[in-house]
Symmetry: C2
Subunit: 329 residues, 2 copies
Amino acid sequence: MGHGGGGVMSAELVENLFLPAFGGAPDTGLGDSAVLGIGGARLAFSTDSYVVRPLFFPGGCIGDLAVNGTVNDLAMSGATAAYLSCAVILEEGVETSVVGRVAQAMGEAARAAGVEIVTGDTKVVESGHGDGIYINTAGIGLVPPGVDIGPHRARPGDVVIVSGGIGLHGVAIMSMREGLEFGVEVASDSAPLGGLVRDLLAAAPGVHALRDPTRGGLAASVNEIAAASGTGVVLREGDIPVPPEVANACSVLGLDPLYVANEGKLVAFVARADAEAALAALRAHPLGADAAVIGECVAEHPGMVVARTPFGGTRVVDLPIGEQLPRIC
Amino acid sequence: MGHGGGGVMSAELVENLFLPAFGGAPDTGLGDSAVLGIGGARLAFSTDSYVVRPLFFPGGCIGDLAVNGTVNDLAMSGATAAYLSCAVILEEGVETSVVGRVAQAMGEAARAAGVEIVTGDTKVVESGHGDGIYINTAGIGLVPPGVDIGPHRARPGDVVIVSGGIGLHGVAIMSMREGLEFGVEVASDSAPLGGLVRDLLAAAPGVHALRDPTRGGLAASVNEIAAASGTGVVLREGDIPVPPEVANACSVLGLDPLYVANEGKLVAFVARADAEAALAALRAHPLGADAAVIGECVAEHPGMVVARTPFGGTRVVDLPIGEQLPRIC
C-alpha cells in the first residue's frame, strides 16, 4: 500500500518502472503538470486519478476533489485551467443516485473553477474489482506568456509562503473513516486555486515555484522543490499555520500535520524582493486569508529540508516513507 | 454490468447523469475526442480508462492498448497525437514485474505511435478494490488547418469504408478468457492509426466522419455516426471483411462480428467523389491493406442503420444493448 502515497515508495515506483520505460523525465524535473509547446501555444497538461474513501466527506466529495485537484495541478504551473476530461470506473452495483450526486458535484465544481468538462469515458468493472466509483480527470490550460514556474526554479534567498492553515483535508477524511469527533466537525479545504494563483502572479512576478501540498502534505511538496532545485530549505515550525482542530486531531491520531494532505492550499517559493507583495496578494483573496511566511531557501544542505522548532532545535523534514493516509484523494 | 459497454445503457448513463450535470453536450455531438480552440491552436483532447481482463493477450496487453486507444481516438478527429498522460491504479499485491512489463509496453507503443507520455499519476488501492492494474490515458493532438471531421458531418451519398477485417481484438480477448482454441491463435489488432489517417486525409479531403470501432464494434460506430448526422446507412453485409478465424469463433460463441471490438481499425464516411482515392490510400498502408467499401449513406430512414444480407434480405443493425463482452478494453 506504500506505493501511491506521494512519498518515497511512490517516487521510487515512478522512477524505477515508468520513467525509464517512457524514455526518461524532462530535464526540468516532474512538476505537478507538464508544460508543452503545441501549435504555437504553451500548454500545461496534467492528470490524476481519484480513489478517495469515503466518497462523501465534510467539505466535499470525490467529484469536486477530481475537478479541483486537476485544476490546482495546472495552476501550479501558472496555467489557467480551460478544459477537463472525466473518465469514471464504476463498480457493478454502485447506486445510480450516488453516481448522479458525484456527477452533479463535478459539474458545480467545474463551473466554480471556470473550466469545461469536454470529453469523457465510462467503464464498469465487476463487484469486488472497484470501490463504487473511481474518477480520472486530465486537464489542459494555457500558460500566459512570460510565466515560467517550476520546482527547479527555487533558489537560495527565496521566501517560502503557505496560503493558509494546513492539514484540513486529511483530517476530514481520517475522522470520517475512523468515526472520530474532535469537538468541531473538520471540513476538507477542497477548493480551486486558479484565481488565487492569478492574483499572486499579477502581484509578484518573482514567484519561482508553486505546489499544492496534497498527498504527503507540505513536507512532500517542499522536499520535491528542494530536490528539483538543489536548494536547501529551512522552515520555521512555529510560523506554519496549523488550525487548532487539525493540531488536536493529529495529536490524537499520532500524525504530523506537515505530512497531512491539503486540497485547497499552495506553497510558493518567491524571490525575497517580491515576498511582501506575494503575501499581501494571497491575503487579499478569500482562499489565502491565512497565508504566512514559513521559511526560506538557503545555500547550505542543498536538496534538504529542515525545520527550526519553537524550542530552538532543528530537525530534518524528510519525504514521507510509505503511505501515511491511504486513499486520501 | 451493462453500463460501460459502448451500447445503449452506456449512452443512457452518459446522457442522463453526466452530460446534464456538466452542462450539456456540444451541438456537434460527442466525437471520440473533443476539438477545442486554445491559444490560437485547434486541439483534439480525449481520454479513456482501460480495465481489460486479462492484462496480457495475443497481440498486446493493457499497456499498448492504453496508448493506441487514445492515439486512435485523437486520430478520429483528424488530429496527430502529440502528448499523452498516464494514470495508473494499482491493486495492492500486484507484482512489480507485471507493472514493469506493462510500463515497457506503454513506452514501446508510444514510440511506435510517435507520441510522448509527459505526465502521470499512481494510486494504490487495497486488494479486492482493483484488478492488478487499471490505466487511464488522456491525449492531446493538433488538428491541421482545414480538417473538419466529425460524426455530424456524414451525409446521404457518402460511401462507408472499413480499413480491414473486423472483430480480431474482441475474439482474441474472449478466446483467452474462455480458454478456447480456434485452430489458429487469434491476435488482437491493437495498433496506432495516426499514420493511416494522415495518408487517408492527404488523398481524400472529402472524409466526413471517422470512428475506430472499439467497444460495441462496427455496429455501434456506424449507429453513432448515423444518429449524430441524421443520415440513414445501408451496409452490404457480404462486403464486410470478417477474417475466417473471427467468423469461426463468433459462430462458436454465438456472437455477431459486427458487435465485436476492434483496436486497430477505422470506419470512414467519405464523399462519393473521393471514395476511390480513399480506398486506394488505405490499401497502400500496411494497416489498411484489407480495406473495403461496405455501404453507403441514404436519405431514407434517417439515423437508422440497416444491412443487406447476402441472401437479399434487409435487417436493422441496432446499437448493442448492454455489454456483449465486458472489460474488452
